[in-house]
Amino acid sequence: MKPSRPATRSALGRVTANALVSSAFLRLDLELDQPFTFLPGQFVMVNEPGPRSWTFSRPFSILAGAGTSLSLLYRVVGRGTAAMASLPRGAAMQVLGPLGEPFPAPVEGSTAVLLGGGVGLPPVFAWRERWGGPRDRAFFGARDGGEVPWEMLGNSWGISVDRAEGVPPGRGAFTGVVTALAAAEAGLAPGDNGVVYACGPAPLLKAAARLARAQGWRCWVSLEEHMGCGYGVCKGCVVPVREGNGIRNATCCFEGPVFDAANLPDLGDPSVLPGTAGGAA
């Protein structure tokens, strides 16, 4: 059953905290001027308030939120995120959300395999906080140990790193790709009804889809596409999805960002039509 989407609000947020949680990621906590609810996998569009703000708002997955508090996890990559990183306590932020299609809720009798890579952590983190059960497994992959928000993840996440440096003493991390870790350690028995929920860079999503196919599991992925509006009106964020025997454009912001991996030709399903792979970046 698809949960129905919570209503979208335009809110003004005040920064209550904005600090590094690892060498690469900052956590931004906002106090909104009105309450809202969200489902894991949904995102918000944020902007500087006021007349001459950025032309386009910036999309960020919701890490956590309840009532009037909202938290994001982000990495500085360009001018918008650089501006965000310098926001002091009390600074104002315009927020539109929640937006987009969430991850599905768990299906009775299934076991979740959660895969987050880099700043793709928030949607799977939120899924686990909301719906995670004792049998579910969660894995996070980062470039090195310094990038990992160890405290936020606690002891129950499997951690993989490309390079072992920066892994704190006493904490273990697998060196290699996160999907290899998940394949080795998800610990599902044959016949277990696994469902993968993944968010991260394209290679991770491709590997997640491959893993799921090999095991006969369902796989949901959250995509990142550059966005103009974030609410379905500009067609600036389309991704090719399979429909019937053909391929059509779906808006990543409104029909996604969460998609069934089996419907995404770009994730390398062998049944794709030739010549369609590799389109979305």
Binding site: S10, N47, F56, Y231, C234, R248
Partner: protein, 305 residues
Amino acid sequence: MNLPSWWQLEVTAPFKLGPRELPGRIWTASGCFAYGLHAHDFRAADGTSPYLGVGAVVTKTVTPLPRTGNAMPRLVETACGALNSIGLENVGFEDFLANVLPELEARGVPTVVSLAATTPEDFGPLVRRLHEHASGFAHWHGVELNLSCPNVAEGGHDFGSAPATVARCVAAARAWLPDRALLAKITPNVADIAQLALAARDAGADAVSAINTVVGLDVDLRTGQPYLPRRFGGYSGQAILPIALAKVDQIVRGVGVPVVGVGGIAEPEDALKFFALGAVAVQVGTAQMRDPFAAARIARDLARR
């Protein structure tokens, strides 16, 4: 804001445009609010809807057949604006008639339908079918002919840049549109936009919408190549406000045809500048993408009471 003393219009009061009365003067621009169906459940902090006070939604341009649009990426943010190369992705005229327009009517959204076609003569049958299908609709107020999209290969720019072609398009549509407002949206990428407005007026347009996007290009320094696969895109947003104001002024003073001003409007002050030059209504484009409440907020802030 403090409203200037010369400001007399009621932007949320009905006004006459050609044969039709429209409910207000602050509209959303084509392509920046889709078909006007995406934001009905959105609410501002004070509980209001993004449709409150909006005089018309100009729908995304529809073409006779569905279009999948251009290759990605389609958007580039620039200093003070953006380039787009969407390529008129749309559901196609028949799907629009069967599924979109009835939904707009049911929701009571004041609607201006934007149409594009590959030859001037194609507009006649389109408008005729539209009229046959929707003449009983209370909330369908007009047609805007998109004679100025820079992002399609067939026609596109060159298509709408000849006054004679503009005249043929307008005449073909007017013949089947006796009782709704007919607008021609014209391109700024010509030497003399007033000539296009004149051609549109003489062929029977009730107003022109000005401007569509300005041809632009941006280079990705990592690759040394243009960001957009088609190299050029349509430049819009804050940066083009002075260009749009200049074009509107040329039309108003040169031709005297009613103008719906569009280009770079994000704030009430921006809209006021168009009205100061004589525009009868304005449209909010790129700013509506950033904030679905932009047009509603401008309408509220310009209300004189």
